[in-house]
Point group: C2
Chain length 220, copies 2
Amino acid sequence: MTNGESARAGDACPSVAVFVVILTVESGELRVLLISRSAEPFRGLWSLPGGVLARDQSLDEAATNKLQRETGVSDVYLEQLYTFHDLDGRGSVAVAYFALVDSRQAQLAHRRTWRPAWFPVADLPPLAFDNNRVIDYALLRLRAKLDYSNVAYSVLPHYFTLSQLQRVYEAILSRPLDKRNFRKRMLSLGIMEPTGKTTADGAHRPAQLYAFRERRPVIF
Amino acid sequence: MTNGESARAGDACPSVAVFVVILTVESGELRVLLISRSAEPFRGLWSLPGGVLARDQSLDEAATNKLQRETGVSDVYLEQLYTFHDLDGRGSVAVAYFALVDSRQAQLAHRRTWRPAWFPVADLPPLAFDNNRVIDYALLRLRAKLDYSNVAYSVLPHYFTLSQLQRVYEAILSRPLDKRNFRKRMLSLGIMEPTGKTTADGAHRPAQLYAFRERRPVIF
DNA sequence: GCAAAAGTGTTCTCTGTACACCCATGT
DNA sequence: ACATGGGTGTACAGAGAACACTTTTGC
């Protein structure tokens, strides 16, 4: 390693890959998008969507594109996670991102050579490379961020009820939350506002619909 | 970008650089190690120590080596920070680390073509690349971690007084802390223990010497 | 009228913060 | 005796956690 120099195109440079841990909440479960590998190595196992970084791409672009191509969504919470080394035993550098998406808006890509699918994070199939580490790391970060950011905006429709929001939190944290305390806290953050509209979707009292003030990543 | 593939050695891969934000506390100030650039680009400006990642190196190895070569120290708090893209306008990928060191233990390297020096983070010279961003990011992380980790162990000698510890915290946070509250909190964390030894270094009451239970990165 | 989900307050505990004085030593 | 830094306790405020009943609707 030479000193004080920025990177140059070298003859012996390691390649750079970008992976995205795409998470959603569905049926009260936190799920992750995985892709069945049709090629060696690890043929037949599942892996995170990702691939080699093109020369003219930025890291964020690569992650955004990957997310868009696999799920069709954009404008969601997407954040760089960590850069791993040698996930594959061949000395590559792998930059991992994580994203939260609304599974109802996602249209999973279906290509000839591989198929993507949602898996509950609590019950993963055998994974290629060292993808378990990457997913564990993403869960840690997501759970830590949940409490002091508005990550949840990208897993919910524009209008949502406080009960829906609570179910999302409960799925991500995988523990039940107290309804009154949850509402008190969420409303006191000032990150959402009542829309005046209500639901009318069942044999029960209609619920107030709320909307996030900001639909972009914000930390409190 | 191809799908589900790990990284491969490509012909058009972007190069990978590793930078280290090496911080210390000296004279009550938080300082960062910078290197005077003797080569283009940005000749004459200062930059963070770093360089291109060799093919057979892991990221952590590269950061550890860089730290060791510039300061002579090892076994300090060293953590991956963030991976930047295109800091230099030439499309490289730059993985940044940050470290905290005890400046009394550090022996700065002095080579022919460049010289390293400590600069107060509050008063930096013009920097090469986009190093201000990297340093700002490191400060954010360090200040956030200070409260719920034992980062400080690596900026202090094995035996230290609570007043020394407090001065380190005050330098990093750049605000004064209340002595009684600080002691109460530090001791209640259970991360350090009294050694029974005391200082005898001035015209005042001797101070109890403490030692960290763990001298390795721990989060609480 | 009953099932189902929405909505709503109070009490307690714990944590963080503000704040001022005596103690042990060297000179 | 005085200057210097070391060491100690209490009171208040705010945040998080525990906890149960009434309301509105569809059927």
